[in-house]
């Protein structure tokens, strides 16, 4: 039964990380959309000639998607795969 418990622990760890990262992506993206909707002057403001806050934040949302995926993959490759392999081996 020990093995089943380990699997449950790993299972809930994976869902916890998956849901936290999904929530992070939603907060970032909908934060951006809400700024677009409610704070147009801020997004139109130029940081340097040719670059507005809006264009910069938009590009950063795409970069943020990459970063979140990188965080997940790092966790999965280092921690999840090893823990799973250990459980499967004990079977």
């Amino acid at each position: 039964m020990h093995n089943v418990d380990d699997m449950r622990v790993l299972d809930s760890a994976r869902w916890r990380i998956a849901i936290s990262l999904t929530a992070a992506m939603m907060v970032l993206y909908f934060g951006f959309i809400l700024l677009v909707a409610y704070n147009k002057p801020l997004l139109t403001r130029l940081i340097v000639p040719g670059l507005s806050v809006g264009v910069l934040l938009g590009a950063l949302v795409i970069v943020a998607a990459w970063v979140l995926i990188w965080i997940y993959v790092r966790w999965a490759n280092r921690h999840y795969d090893a823990a799973l392999a250990a459980i499967v081996e004990r079977r």
Binding site: M7, R8, L10, D11, R14, W15, I17, A18, I19, L21, T22, M25, M26, Y29, F30, F32, I33, L34, V36, A37, Y38, K40, P41, L43, T44, R45, L46, V48, P49, G50, L51, S52, G54, V55, G58, A59, V61, I62, A65, W66, L68, I69, Y72, V73, A76, D81, L84, V88
Partner: protein, 517 residues
């Protein structure tokens, strides 16, 4: 003066080379496609990089290449909102769907939903959701294809639709998933190369400095082009579209199906890394393409050719690279359409044959040879339907149908898929009602929305204020799923969740997998 719409020898040559190459791929693939596993899932032998490219090829439609570049060219920053929206669904696919889906299913996402629930009702509802998504997406692609090819080559609309439908049918019918995958890979490479070259040639005029390009845009059109404008006037509307794009990606049957083409969950993970990298890079390029066309071609010139701006990228190609480069980009746009419709048709055929015929009509007792035959017959049916629908919707505004397809995917497919993997208490009745609720609510609300009521039926007002149903339909579908599960628990389904837990991380050899009926 642009030569768009006149027969362009290089475009026609490039297009013929692509068709010859892709039919050659199909010929090779056809020799391998003798089993259902090959037809639906390419024998699960695709690598992570290959699947990443194929996912990108399946997802980046001509609408994103030509449509978003045009939107950015005509409205600046507002167009970028779409670029971003189409990318943010991919992390969701990665975190919540890709690996569990690979471990729990075989050919379609309904395999996962039906895993521990009663097969017949779940399969019927899931097939309805899949076919609705595939149908609307196909109409949008076919009508777009007909219009684009008419604008690009000067070819009659009906002929263009027929050619696209027939060539796509040849890929799927004879080459199944193997041919579809390679067509998507070739297309993704061509599209990424084409968009990158075009962006570089445009940036060359600005010392390869994007900020100099953006500055040139503000000098000519004012600083407003770098900030939000009229397109996003209603915050709730943008939230609704955003939610549909984000969660809909994780419910698109043709995208989900691609995860069965790789050997295991870890490769599914790798393929999303590549796909998100390529797709994000592509959408960042659309920033450059749009502003490049705005400055180098000019907004009035773009509008003169097509009021919607769809020709911005080809016009930019002509302006920076002449006839030859225009021909190349045109051929790439054509390849793009073909790869997307092939993926859609294959997903639709899998819903008809694997879900409806094998699991509902034959109760899981069909032989593989029979399943393959039905899959091919379904492919022909869908191919003919695609051509017919393309012609039926000629001249109509179908741009909203992509948003509708995403809304149905997000509200009908995504909640049931997620809950079936995540929640022990989820039941057959809940899966069925939430999938039907999502589909019906999306269709009903789009009918009551300003898109249909004001823009198409020319009524003064619309009963439902939002242009995308996502913001209502998605939470509604989740709520229905949860409430129905709580009111009518299903002990068998809860007991079956042990098997889900046992398989969601390690997968299983499909030849030994038991099925419940």
């Amino acid at each position: 003066m642009s030569s768009l719409g006149e027969p362009n020898l290089i475009a026609i040559a490039g297009f013929l080379i692509f068709i010859a190459l892709s039919l050659g791929i199909t010929y090779v693939a056809a020799k391998r496609t003798h089993s259902a596993d090959q037809f639906y899932a390419a024998g699960s032998s695709i690598t992570g990089l290959q699947n990443g490219l194929a996912l990108a090829g399946d997802y980046m439609s001509a609408a994103s290449f030509l449509g978003i570049a045009g939107l950015v060219a005509l409205s600046g920053f507002d167009g970028l909102i779409y670029s971003i929206g189409f990318l943010v669904g991919w992390p969701v696919v990665m975190f919540l769907i890709a690996e569990p889906l690979r471990n729990l299913g075989k050919y379609t996402f309904s395999d996962v939903v039906a895993f521990r629930l009663r097969q017949t009702p779940v399969r019927v509802a899931a097939a309805c959701g899949s076919l609705a998504v595939v149908g609307f997406y196909l109409i949008a692609q076919m009508v777009g294809a007909g219009n684009l090819i008419r604008l690009l080559f000067g070819m009659p609309y009906e002929l263009a639709v027929t050619i696209v439908g027939t060539v796509m049918l040849a890929y799927v019918l004879f080459g199944g998933m193997v041919a579809t995958t390679w067509v998507q890979i070739v297309k993704a490479v061509l599209l990424l190369m084409g968009a990158f070259l075009l962006a570089m040639m445009a940036l060359a005029r600005f010392d390869f400095n994007p900020l100099a390009l953006f500055r040139a845009a503000t000098d000519r059109y004012g600083e407003a082009v770098l900030g939000p404008g009229q397109l996003v006037s209603d915050p709730l509307d943008s939230m609704s579209l955003g939610l549909a794009l984000m969660l809909g990606t994780a419910g698109l049957p043709h995208i989900l199906m691609r995860f069965y083409t790789v050997p295991d969950a870890k490769t599914a993970r790798t393929s999303v890394i590549y796909a998100t990298g390529f797709i994000g890079f592509f959408y960042l390029l659309t920033f450059i393409l749009g502003f490049g066309a705005m400055v180098i071609v000019g907004q009035p010139e773009i509008r003169a050719i097509d009021a919607g701006g769809n020709m911005a990228a080809p016009l930019l190609a002509e302006a920076v690279g002449g006839q030859a480069f225009l021909g190349f980009i045109t051929a790439v746009a054509f390849a793009t359409i073909l790869a997307v419709v092939a993926g859609l048709t294959l997903a639709g055929a899998a819903a008809l044959s694997h879900d409806l015929w094998v699991h509902v009509v034959r109760k899981g007792r069909a032989l593989e040879a029979e399943e393959l035959k039905v899959a091919r017959a379904s492919t022909v049916l869908l191919g003919v339907m695609a051509i017919g629908l393309g012609m039926a919707f000629k001249g109509q505004n179908v741009a909203y149908m992509v948003g509708l397809a995403f809304a149905i995917a997000a509200s009908a497919n995504f909640p049931a898929l997620l809950l079936s993997m995540f929640w022990r208490g989820f039941t057959t009745r809940a899966a069925q009602t939430s999938m039907l609720t999502g589909t019906i609510a999306s269709l009903g609300l789009i009918y009551l929305s300003p898109t249909i009521q004001i823009d198409m039926l020319k009524n003064a007002s619309a009963p439902f204020p939002l242009r995308n149903p996502g913001l209502v339909a998605i939470p509604l579908s989740f709520a229905v799923a949860i409430v129905v599960s709580l009111i009518w628990p299903e002990p068998d389904a809860a007991a079956g969740f042990d098997a889900v837990e046992a398989r969601i991380h390690v997968g299983v050899d499909h030849s030994k997998a038991p099925a419940r009926h």
